[in-house]
């Protein structure tokens, strides 16, 4: 009876397994790196983590809606290139604000294109966004043929400094969770989950499935824009044409580690945030546990597979004992 209850608890709280996993890896991290919870270290870690967190949040909205966005990384590259071609160290606040608004608009426009193609031309999300990723890469290369760019120093200093002794990223994460909890109460969220679990069934009950699908990619584009803004704040505006490309697959792994199923209709952004943290903490542990350089990739991959296999392994063992 007790184990049955436990199962129900896990089924209802999809984040729970991920959260336990995060606590475990954080514990290990603390053992190998005692100062991990010190403000300075925490701040540094979160600051460089925020872009991927934002990207994974956008990715999880698409995944919940039953899609997948393989273009997010190249979108970050394109939008970062866009930003640094507009903003220079001498830009006035007005110019910067305008650039930020334009970058966000460009991100949403790119997402809109993805969404329209997926929802109205009815093309498979994975291959569509793979195709558009070439377009975004190409534009990034056009805008920024050589690595470069820089933003006003005050901005990167502001981004680097904790506010009231709390890392800035904490406020961002709190805002994200607030945004999500407000969104969850709306009818839109119900439509989103219904669309993700079964497009046909949702359509039959009057959900504007296509519109909802389009919006998921617009969200993803907006979050890619926010990711590129924080990434540029983090690098001081130094960019290159492929700066975000590698983030795509990380964002998907983070979503899955956070307990969101790729088949859609379930999960949430908190899982994605936890997933990104797990990925980062694993890398931290490997670094501070003095794993030889040549073995780091292997150890990292093995731990991630073990983390992914965990729930399935438990189920398999339980079933074989039950027999």
């Amino acid at each position: 009876m007790k184990s049955l209850n436990l199962q129900r608890v896990f089924a209802r709280n999809t984040y729970l397994i991920s959260f336990i996993l995060l606590v475990i890896v954080l514990g290990i991290n603390y053992i190998v790196q005692n100062n991990v919870f010190e403000l300075r270290v925490l701040n540094n870690n979160l600051r460089t983590l925020l872009p991927l967190i934002l990207l994974a949040v956008g990715q999880s909205i698409v995944v919940i809606g039953g899609g997948l966005d393989l273009s997010v990384g190249t979108l970050v590259s394109m939008l970062s290139a866009l930003l640094v071609t507009w903003v220079t160290p001498d830009s006035t606040p007005d110019q910067i604000l305008l650039a930020v608004v334009l970058v966000c608009a460009a991100g949403m426009l790119a997402g809109l294109v993805n969404g329209l193609v997926v929802a109205y031309l009815r093309l498979q999300p994975m291959i569509t966004t793979y195709a558009t990723s070439f377009i975004f890469s190409g534009i990034a290369l056009l805008l920024l043929p050589r690595p470069g760019g820089s933003i006003p120093r005050d901005l990167s200093t502001f981004y680097r400094s904790p506010l009231l002794d709390i890392p800035l990223a904490f406020y961002a994460i709190a805002l994200l969770l607030l945004f999500w909890s407000v969104l969850r109460t709306t009818r839109y969220a119900q439509y989103l989950y219904a669309t993700g679990s079964s497009g046909a069934a949702a359509y039959a009950t009057g959900v504007p499935v296509r519109v909802v699908r389009v919006t998921t990619y617009v969200w993803s584009g907006l979050f890619a824009a926010l990711a590129s803004l924080t990434l540029m704040l983090s690098t001081g505006g130094a960019s290159q044409a492929n700066i975000g490309d590698d983030m795509t697959l990380d964002s998907i792994v983070a979503v899955v580690l956070g307990g969101t199923r790729l088949s859609g209709g379930q999960g949430g952004i908190a899982g994605a945030i936890i997933g990104v943290m797990i990925l980062r903490v694993i890398r931290n542990v490997i670094f501070f546990a003095a794993v030889p350089t040549w073995s780091q990739t292997l150890v990292n991959a093995l731990i991630i597979i073990a983390a992914l296999a965990g729930p399935g392994l438990i189920r398999l063992i339980r079933r074989s004992i039950g027999r």
Partner: protein, 319 residues
Amino acid sequence: MNAQTLRRYLTPPLIALLLAIALFFAGGLINPDFINVTQAINIVRLAAFLGIISAGQTLVIISGGEGIDLSVGAVVTLAAILTFRITGGDNNLIGVGLLASLSAGFIVGLLNGIGIALLHIPPLVMTLGMTGVVSGTILVVTQGEMLGATPALMSTYIAKPLIFGIPGVILIWVALGVVMWLLMERTTYGKHLFAIGVNRTAARLSGVRVERAVIITYTLAGLLAALGGFMLLGFAQTVLLNLGDPYRFPSIAAVVVGGTMLTGGKGSYWGTMSGALVLTLIDSLLRAMGLAEAYQLIVFGGLLVLLIAVYGRELNLRQ
């Protein structure tokens, strides 16, 4: 010929093949030097590597259940490096190199299959994780140093003209096409593959051992990717840590352009072969036009959207 018979014959693989031929002649309009036998053979040769590497991907995607294999690129690299290292340029050791490559591919594929079928890890992240494991193992073993050499015979039999000016890899590709057709259309495994792709529950209820079929599929995919890596070494002559990476997503694109649905249960290797030809042609064409890299990327992406829009569409919700 009325519209209905036309539709029956104009299957996605055929459309892709016709498109490939049209593209080739379109290339001639842009640059008259583009059309000649040597160039045609060269393009088919390039397509053959992509085609062989995409063979396993075809099986995986048809098997459904969000089936996808992102580890092909890493397996290609692994097989090439193994052959490079084991043979050290010695023609007598080619067989050993091939065997080692195939065994390595077999193991990677088997692990993918076990993780996906038994531990219920989504294929996308499982095969992505295995990519890390394979690349990581390569780094641990080689420490970044690429020792070895390519046996001269491999180049002779794979990359250089063998019979009537046709390189061996094209002949092997055609033979693989026949084998894949037999495997998918004439064996029990083939029937099970399509059955699990359409509906796993229904397949299970009609007596298909779903988990076993899934594991066999990913194992075959590993094996075929390793074969592709072995072949690629005969062409590339040298190995890099990211030799196979450029094949990771194009292998999926070739399958989709060939008319195989990513949702599974429907498709053919003959389609993938046409898809590989189309993708390679577009790539060669864009290069021949001398466009800047940025424009090449943009045009390629746009064309890919158009290509899959022709027939890669999902069912209308209103049906």
